[in-house]
């Protein structure tokens, strides 16, 4: 058999799959077979490479040439040109801002070079189905160290020095959680991984589970050794079937290699993992609700204390952390706590994975040292807002977070700073919004989410969020009053103070924070019936300029509700009573005659 001459890494992250990665891979392999190259070219599907906007992505080694936005139609050309003839296919390369071709953007662009990849160290680099590749990247070394070289107290000490905090949202010091559970009394203890990544716009946990599942298996096994647990659960959302598949495979391989199961690496330590699949309830991201769900019950939160460290799953001491937190554990143990705390700033050490999405040029996953400014993250790494539009706000922390306005973009991202700005880092979702986003509408969107997802157990959250939503609906339909605005704020503060769990305590945050920074928008909705972004339908009309319209009839032909009238070569008119503000006519008018106005 001939030696492998090329290794081709194809990104099989969620975004690349939805961009057609499977058919690209199919055509690529078919073409390899056509030229009998299947034995000299190795094709590997990796986890998310991060540059999701460019998907599907394919990188050819040893040269490291990076091809982007590949379609099934041109996948065969890469084989025929690059592999067969050694010629780079220029039109599939990354094109820089100045029209310059970049063969190896991973070594050149800030999007890649500014990153420090610890939790995502193996994403896009290894084959997630191969335990050998994980081991080759120092995988399971940390477990070996914990079993044979250092004591369990040393592990806690390393975590303490690393200053790692929980990456799921709350930001609680990880070493303390481990220490509490270790010291808790009881023979039976549990380790749980929270992979119920529910914050819309955050997908780092999915990427880690799909791209580097062994890091979670290793970290949880280490945790079990330290706190004295025999059994662990990974609670994964039902929306992530590929993550479940990859993790199941990783667990099987780990058992075969003796890293999981009975007598791990020949010691008397035994530990095993089980996957529990969520069933679509956002509140299950809350730790005690998640525990109830693993027990097979409705996922409603419990009153704390007692905390899970003392009484968690089946009332036993339970250590519960999120995926990204666990993914950091093996390298911290291998390299030491000081190594990790070298990154980041006071109070926020290490790195954090952010999911850039929304109106930003380079959407995707990036891992950067904490303390980086929002400006650097959004403009240098993210490439700024596309389409010449102006940045309006950055939404962080999902339904528990808030919106940061453009003026505060030079703030370094730390746990404390985000709190001061009225938001949280949360799980790391960052949705960039441009001037076309209405902040009242955004607040309404999140409230709709929490109303739907409130478990219904406590009154402030169940009824309070619903009342808040009703007020927001009044405001966005032009029926709000100034009194409503004050009521909204009051109600929000009360809900935050009196709800049982984190969901209710943070649910009003998107409203409170947008009111804080965009009060003028709320006021304009109420006082002038005006929506700055022209997003709120009741406050917006679509009009045709009599001067510009040439009567081409393009608009009246696409209008789905026949709201546009007028005969050929005479200016057309839109009936505001019938018009649904869908914007179809705006998209087809070639004369710039149609615009949205408010009021």
């Amino acid at each position: 058999m001939p030696a492998v001459e090329n290794t081709v890494l194809i990104c099989a992250g969620g975004a690349c799959i939805s961009a057609g990665e499977k058919s690209v891979k199919g055509v690529f392999e078919e073409t390899l077979r056509k030229y009998s190259l299947e034995n000299v070219v190795r094709v590997v599907e990796t986890g998310c490479m991060g540059a999701c906007d460019l998907g599907p992505i394919l990188v050819i080694y040893p040269e490291g040439v990076f091809y982007q936005k590949i379609t099934p139609e041109n996948a065969s050309r890469i084989v025929e040109e690059h592999i067969l003839k050694g010629r780079v296919v220029e039109d599939l390369l990354y094109v820089g801002d100045m029209g310059d071709l970049r063969e190896r953007p991973q070594e050149e662009l800030p999007f890649f070079t500014e990153q420090v990849r610890i939790a995502t160290r193996n994403l896009g680099v290894i084959d997630p189905l191969s335990i050998d590749e994980y081991i080759a990247r120092d995988g399971y070394f940390a477990l070996h160290k914990v079993l044979f070289e250092i004591g369990t107290d040393d592990v806690i000490e390393i975590l303490k020095k690393s200053e790692l905090k929980g990456r799921g949202g709350a930001g609680f010091p990880t070493w303390m959680k481990w220490d509490f559970t270790k010291k808790a009394e009881g023979e039976t203890k549990y380790v749980i991984c929270n992979a119920d990544e529910g914050d819309p716009g955050a997908f780092m946990d999915r990427a880690v589970l799909e791209g580097d599942p062994h890091s979670i298996v290793e970290a949880m096994t280490i945790a079990a050794r330290v706190i004295g647990a025999q059994k662990g659960f990974v609670y994964v959302r039902a929306e992530y079937p590929l993550a479940i598949e990859r993790l199941t495979h990783a667990m099987k391989m780990a058992r075969e290699y003796g890293f999981l199961g009975e007598n791990i690496l020949g010691t008397d330590f035994s530990f095993d993992l089980e996957i529990r699949i969520g069933a679509g309830a956002f509140v299950c991201g809350e730790e005690t609700a998640l525990i109830n769900s693993i027990e097979g019950k409705r996922g409603i939160p419990r009153v704390k204390p007692p905390f899970p460290a003392n009484r968690g799953l089946w009332q036993k001491p339970t250590l519960l952390s999120n995926v990204e937190t666990y993914a950091n554990i093996p390298p911290i143990i291998t390299n030491g706590g000081e190594w990790f705390s070298k990154f980041g700033v006071e109070g926020s050490r290490g790195t954090k994975v952010f999911a850039l999405a929304g109106n930003v040029k380079n959407t995707g996953l990036v891992e950067v040292p904490m303390g980086i400014t929002l400006r650097k993250l959004i403009f240098e790494i993210g490439g700024g807002v596309p389409g010449g539009k102006k940045l309006k706000a950055i939404q962080t922390g999902g339904p528990s977070g808030g919106c940061i306005p453009l003026e505060l973009i030079d703030t370094p991202i730390t746990y404390d700073n985000m709190k001061k700005l009225g938001t949280i880092i949360g799980s790391g979702g960052m949705i960039v919004m441009d001037e076309d986003s209405c902040m009242v509408d955004v607040a309404k969107y999140f409230l709709e989410f929490t109303v739907e997802e409130s478990c219904g157990q406590c009154t402030p959250c169940r009824d309070g969020t619903r009342r808040m939503l009703e007020i927001l609906e009044r405001i966005t339909s032009g029926e709000g009053t100034m009194e409503d605005l004050h009521l909204l704020k009051d109600l929000g503060e009360n809900i935050m103070a009196t709800s049982l769990c984190g969901l209710g305590q943070t649910a009003p945050q998107p409203v409170i924070s947008t009111m804080r920074y965009f009060w003028d928008e709320y006021e304009a909705h109420v006082k002038e019936g005006r929506c700055f972004a022209k997003k709120c339908k009741s406050l917006t009309r679509v009009v045709i300029s009599k001067e510009k319209c040439v009567g081409c009839t393009a608009c009246s032909r696409v209008c789905p509700v026949e709201a546009i009238s007028g005969s050929v070569r005479t200016p057309h008119e839109i009936d505001p009573e019938i018009c649904t503000r869908c914007g179809s006519c705006l998209a087809v008018c070639r004369f710039g005659a149609i615009s949205k106005v408010s009021p």
């Binding site: 961009a19 955050a202 929306e239 069933a279 679509g280 309830a281 019950k297 979702g429 919004m433």
Partner: protein, 164 residues
């Protein structure tokens, strides 16, 4: 879904029972069993919930409580091709609401209800984690469509209509 009218059901119940027997000793398996039941039958009818309740020896009220709590479980049949429109924040900002609107117009059907031919049903789902390709539509389990525009909707639907 009475057994008399449904010759297939006996086989399906047998499949479910085999699964239940394999996990019965473990604690907290109700949600797993319901996942399996929905996978086999497509939805969780009252009769099916009754069956699960008896097999697991868990009160029906508790089974019903769990079924109605979680979005993933459905007590109504769904269309053959389930169209899942992601309503995560990124998709929302990129106009997922317009996709949803167009789908409903095109199929003339309410959310979560199957079309009269049983071919489709539309469901709003939480973030699918493919935010860079927003707005995202997922049909069935594997067919992802990224950066969908309202005008592409009918083309996508045609693909499934033709497959019939």
């Amino acid at each position: 879904m009475s057994l008399v009218n449904c010759p297939d059901c006996q086989r399906l119940y047998k499949e479910l029972d085999e699964y239940i027997d394999s996990v019965k000793g473990n604690t907290g398996v109700l949600i797993n069993v319901l996942h399996k039941a929905q996978e086999i039958f497509g939805y969780l009818s009252e009769e099916l919930q009754q069956h699960v309740s008896e097999k697991l020896d868990i009160p029906l009220s508790q089974v019903y409580g769990v079924v109605t709590f979680y979005n993933f479980f459905s007590m109504k049949p769904k269309g053959k091709n389930q169209i899942k429109v992601c309503l995560g924040t990124a998709c929302y900002v990129k106009g997922a609401d317009k996709i949803l609107e167009r789908l409903r117009d095109e199929l003339n059907v309410e959310m979560n209800e199957p079309t009269s031919d049983g071919l489709f049903s539309i469901h709003a789902v939480r973030c699918l984690g493919a935010c860079s390709m927003a707005p995202v539509v997922l049909i069935g389990e594997d067919d992802y469509y990224g950066r969908v525009s309202p005008d592409e909707v009918s083309k996508i639907l045609d693909k499934y209509r033709r497959a019939e």
